[in-house]
């Protein structure tokens, strides 16, 4: 279609001045140019569809089957909603894993993310050493979660770890098994995950704070608002776009949680997470492809929330 590609700014305020030239514009773009542009978008798009969206759709499709990965999927493989039935009522690991993801989300949303925002607010001022503090809190962000997991194992390990030794629990024999005890190990790895998450949130929030119009703050000060009031009543509302990004990042991080739990004990014994149940069921000797896909669909459905929030924001700012 000749009209499918035209130079931009049709919808811009100055569109009026472009009207005259617009007709000429598609003659300016040669057929060759148009084909090149289509390839420039088409090739990456094809890869994205093939390796991201096709598997997403396949996950949904496979979740209605009992396919074990051998041979082709036939009509006999279709078992309707049985995977979901079993997942909700028979599979003892599903609800714990679901709960762990919720706890993960709650922890990040109520503790780690606010702490990151708090650090950002504290450091967003003319103050000696602010650069140093920023660098310190930011340091874990560059590290792999695998390394983060290893570093914290050195803290939490029962007899050799720092924490039990420092509190004299090794000497007194009252060891706390931070990573092995299913009642507390989730919180231990959440501390490790937060170590990285806080810096991440801080950096993004700081960038946002820098863009807040300083006269707003001055005006609040003039009106006699203290710093806390100024933040909640003036800065925080102005930061709404960044707040959405931070919320989305927090939610996505909680849903993606996998690495540290896997490193500690492959996601067992208190560290079950939806992401880990998916791989454990479908990519292992059990090879329950259909069942694993059903868990993946649940994870997908939850993820759609933050994804849609993010996309609607993108839409709003572009249009």
């Amino acid at each position: 279609m000749a009209t499918s590609i035209t130079p931009a700014r049709e919808d811009s305020p100055e569109a009026g001045e472009l009207v005259a030239t617009r007709r000429g514009r598609y003659h300016v773009l040669t057929r060759f140019d148009r084909r090149v542009l289509m390839l420039m978008v088409g090739i990456p798009l094809l890869l994205d569809v093939l390796l991201i969206w096709w598997p997403t759709a396949s996950s949904i499709f496979l979740s209605f089957t009992n396919w074990d990965g051998v041979g082709a999927v036939t009509a006999q493989n279709f078992i309707g909603l049985k995977n979901y039935q079993f997942m909700f009522s028979g599979y003892t690991l599903f609800w714990p894993a679901f709960l762990h993801n919720i706890i993960w989300l709650a922890w990040l949303a109520l503790i780690a993310t606010p702490l990151g925002i708090f650090f950002a607010v504290l450091l967003d001022r003319e103050m000696s050493g602010t650069g140093f503090y920023q660098s310190v809190f930011f340091l874990p962000v560059v590290l792999s979660l695998v390394v983060v997991g290893f570093i914290w194992e050195l803290q939490f390990s029962p007899t050799e770890g720092f924490i039990n030794n420092a509190f004299g629990l090794v000497k007194s024999g009252k060891l706390i098994d931070w990573l092995g005890n299913p009642r507390i190990n989730l919180y231990s790895i959440l501390i490790a995950a937060s170590w990285r998450h806080v810096g991440y949130v801080m950096v993004i929030y700081l960038a946002g704070l820098k863009s807040v119009d300083p006269t707003l703050r001055e005006a609040a000060k003039v009106d006699g608002a203290n710093e806390i009031r100024t933040f909640f009543r003036v800065v925080f509302p102005v930061m709404a776009p960044i707040n959405v990004v931070i919320a989305v990042i927090t939610a996505i991080e909680a849903l993606r949680a996998f690495d540290i739990a896997f490193i500690v004990n492959q996601g067992k014994n208190g560290l079950e997470l939806l992401s880990i149940l998916i791989t454990n069921n479908s990519i292992s000797e059990a090879s329950l492809v259909g069942f694993g896909s059903a868990i993946a669909v649940i994870l997908l459905l939850i993820s759609l929330g933050p994804i849609i929030v993010f996309l609607s924001r993108v839409m709003r700012t572009t249009s």
Partner: protein, 316 residues
């Protein structure tokens, strides 16, 4: 009234700051110093443990002063016996082409979608952005099957010393291959990079592209010779960020590779945990060695890294 108050306050503030004894500031610094200590401690502890000979910690426990001195012996052991250099190369073989190709693909999409308006502009950008936000585990089950069922030609291999890089595969499949890991990184990260680069390119005046077209330049030329050079800061930031992301990734290689020798360094570290890292001192040394490249990025490219992170979140 308030104007006067502002004026007096503004003039008062510097003198107080100059005196430098505001209790608020002192408390703030005290708090931040304590928190910095808390933040740095795990890393310090890992470094400290990695420098202590195992004999020393066996005898005195981990919570003790170094009686036998500190040494790099653990690093040496990990480096040589666990074949660590080998795994760095595995990571580089995957990460370097992946970063370059991701930037090429993403900048093409961003260029076409921001410099020209066409019907599916926004939809395209949304497909890429949403794809990158999906948890990888949502797609892993079918992806694993795709990898097991995608045939690739075996065209021999490039052998350099002990390294052998198959072209394109050594088992006729996409599964368990460098190229397979590279591919999924490229596709996954292209979503992110497209989002960031298109935000950046939106700030470039379209008149540049328009006048270049009027002058008869091909779109490929405009992309490569005009728009990409203007995006250099964004490209540098993204290259830094993507390299760190891909270097740090654990999940894809864990699932889509099975041969231990081919694994990138992060998955290798996990693999070595049980079989090779028999004590915490070696684990610490291994973790620190794996952390060195990101820490170098942190030291030398922190600005780029942060720019990459914030470009993706504060604009657009």
């Amino acid at each position: 009234m308030s104007v006067i108050a502002a004026a007096t306050r503004r003039s008062a503030a510097p003198t107080v700051a100059a005196r430098g004894i505001r209790p608020g500031r002192v408390a703030l610094h005290a708090f931040l110093i304590v928190m910095s200590g808390v933040w740095l401690f795990p890393l310090f502890w890992a470094v400290y443990s990695s420098l202590r000979p195992i004999s020393d910690t066996v005898l005195h426990g981990y919570l003790s002063w170094p009686s036998g001195g500190l040494s790099l012996a653990n690093y040496q052991t990990v480096w040589t016996q666990a074949d660590l250099p080998y795994y760095y190369v595995n990571t580089l073989v995957i990460a370097v082409p992946a970063v370059i190709l991701t930037l090429v693909l993403a900048s093409m999409v961003a260029f076409a979608c921001t410099q020209f308006s066409w019907r599916f502009n926004l939809v395209t950008l949304m497909i890429f952005t949403a794809g990158n936000l999906l948890p990888p585990q949502v797609i892993i089950v079918p992806l694993y099957r795709i990898y097991l069922n995608t045939p690739l030609p075996m065209l021999g291999s490039i052998d350099i010393g002990k390294f052998s890089f198959p072209l394109f595969t050594d088992n006729t499949l996409l599964y368990d291959q460098y190229i397979g890991i590279m591919l999924i990184h490229i596709v996954f990260q292209t979503g992110f990079a497209t989002f960031v680069l298109s935000n950046y390119m939106k700030t470039i005046s379209k008149e540049i592209t328009e006048s270049a077209i009027v002058d008869g330049a091909h779109v490929l030329r405009i992309w490569w010779n005009i728009v990409l050079p203007l995006c250099r800061p964004a490209l540098a930031a993204m290259a830094t960020l993507l390299f760190t992301f891909i270097y740090n990734d654990f999940f894809w290689a864990l699932i889509l590779m099975k041969t231990g020798d081919k694994r990138p360094i992060t998955s290798a570290l996990n693999n070595l945990q049980g079989e090779f890292f028999v004590n915490n001192n070696l684990i610490a040394a291994g973790a620190m060695l794996v952390a060195i490249p990101p820490i170098l990025v942190y030291i030398f490219l922190q600005k780029q890294f942060i720019a990459g992170l914030t470009l993706g979140s504060t604009k657009g």
